[in-house]
């Protein structure tokens, strides 16, 4: 199991943000984490990246326990945060170089890895441009490329398509699916129902608890995903 979350709970004071959350994602799987705003997605991502430590529950990343062996576990994660984290005044290459160094990579090895990742995201020709000159879609792709540099097993994407136009959104979603096919474990948080295919794994999070966890087509059956989602969360659309 490449990503395994068991009995995770987290509260901000009295308010519970996550309540006994458990799910597994196998290697080579694209798992969409669907939930309305405030469902607890960002809290979950913060705990998965060890910005917070959960009050209870365990997390295993590629077999490494996040609380016992945090550094080995973190090495297996590639992250794209919801907020952009690129340095706007630096070139794409420099941004990636900085990240590689944070992962302890340097020299030609790092350079090769950076080029490989950019290639994968069709961003090679943008390497020398400052981030400020890139459009939103390219910035996101640069960040995804960055998350691949250190050969992680698990990719965590926290609403990476927010604010992008439809074309960029579908391009990036396609890239992410391709990565899953390559063997990465992809956890993709979103509140948009059109970013997944029927054969993807789907975890629906609502008010800090899991409502459903199965293949998307098994959850939706014959109705549309949007319809199912609204029914499950009881949201006033």
């Amino acid at each position: 199991m490449s990503l395994s979350v068991k009995g995770l709970s987290y509260a901000y004071g009295a308010k519970k943000a996550l309540d006994d959350v458990s799910f597994d994602v196998a290697s080579g799987t694209f798992c969409a984490l669907l939930g309305p705003n405030g469902a607890g997605k960002t809290t979950l991502f913060s705990i998965l990246t060890r910005l917070f430590i959960a009050q209870s529950g365990t997390i295993e990343i590629a077999g490494q326990d996040l609380s016992n062996k945090p550094l080995s576990a973190l090495k297996q994660i590639g992250v794209v945060f919801q907020q952009p984290t690129l340095d706007l005044d630096l070139t794409v290459y420099r941004n990636l170089k900085y990240f590689a160094a944070l992962q302890g990579l340097s020299g030609t090895y790092a350079e090769n890895k950076i080029m490989e990742s950019l290639e994968k995201m069709s961003m090679m020709e943008r390497a020398g441009e400052t981030v400020r000159k890139l459009n939103g879609g390219h910035r996101r792709r640069a960040e995804i490329a960055r998350s691949l540099i250190h050969d992680p097993k698990v990719l965590l994407f926290d609403e990476p398509t927010v604010g992008l136009d439809a074309a960029s959104r579908s391009a990036i979603t396609k890239h992410a699916h391709a990565l899953a096919e390559e063997g990465y474990t992809v956890l993709w948080a979103t509140h948009l129902t059109d970013e997944m295919s029927p054969k993807d794994q789907l975890v629906i999070l609502h008010q800090g608890a899991i409502l459903a966890n199965d293949k998307a087509k098994n959850i939706t059956g014959d109705s549309s995903l949007t319809q199912t989602f609204l029914e499950l969360t009881g949201a006033e659309a």
Partner: protein, 263 residues
């Protein structure tokens, strides 16, 4: 150990690059102490040539007196500025990127701290160079012996900034930091007036200044410029650095959480 140093180098380089790009910040950092030196101190020129206190061996002009204090001021502002950028980084998310690196947090924070200290030191030396051109000089060796004092003071003030940044929830609160941290720290110290002069006006004022860690940072720099070690100040600054550092590490402890996310 290698990944530690690769990360250190990268973080310091990034800080330096960012600083060079913000030319306005560099100029502002220099203009502030220079205004104090050329306008404020020049007005008080002869006012202080009355008493000889260590490390001075003879009477000095007021301008000579306040230079170490202004070096401290540069580092104080820089320490706070870097904490401001930490808060900003956190809002922007690049702090998350830093903290998810597979290295211990204390090391990552230390790298950040060292980066901002190095930038402070570059500013201080630029300031000292301008002071030298203006005719305010120290023994040549003093420019070298002041370096460890600058490193220590820079780390202390940076650690203070780091600690503050872990408790400030939002960027808007930073103005409060200016009012409640920078100004009292600067004015209630030996940067502008020697402690004996403070004692003349009020014992209480003197006592406050004497426990202010910034006073000791300034005295450390003052003595080091004259190739002397002020032992008491060294101990004070070390102690304060450890306290602020511990506070910062505690403040950034993942078990404490960072702030309530909006998502």
């Amino acid at each position: 150990m290698k990944p530690y140093f690769i990360a250190l180098q990268a973080i310091v380089t990034r800080e330096a690059l960012r600083f060079i790009q913000q030319r306005g910040r560099f100029i502002a950092a220099l203009v502030r102490p220079l205004v104090w030196l050329f306008v404020f101190a020049a007005g008080f020129r002869a006012a202080l040539g009355l008493s000889i206190t260590p490390p001075y061996q003879t009477y000095i002009q007021y301008e000579t007196y306040i230079v170490p204090g202004l070096c401290g001021m540069i580092m104080l502002f820089n320490g706070m500025q870097s904490s401001l950028s930490l808060v900003y980084d956190r809002e922007m998310g690049s702090m998350r990127l830093l903290l998810t690196a597979p290295l211990p947090r204390w090391w990552l924070l230390f790298c950040r701290l060292l980066g901002s200290t190095i930038i402070s030191i570059a500013q201080v030396y630029t300031f000292l160079l301008i002071a030298d051109l203006y005719g305010l000089r120290w023994p040549t060796l003093g420019y070298l012996t002041v370096l460890p004092a600058l490193i220590l003071t820079g780390l202390m003030l940076g650690a203070l900034g780091l600690a503050l940044s872990s408790f400030i929830k939002q960027l808007e609160n930073f103005a409060g930091v200016m009012n409640f941290v920078i100004f009292p720290m600067f004015f209630l110290s030996s940067a502008l007036y020697p402690l004996w002069k403070m004692a003349e006006s009020s014992e209480l004022l003197h006592d406050i200044c004497a426990v202010n860690p910034f006073t000791h940072g300034v005295e450390l720099i003052r003595f080091a410029l004259h190739q002397q070690i002020n032992l008491q100040s060294t101990l004070w600054v070390l102690l304060a650095t450890l306290c602020f550092g511990a506070l910062a590490i505690w403040g950034y402890d993942p078990a404490r959480g960072m702030k309530r996310p909006r998502g």
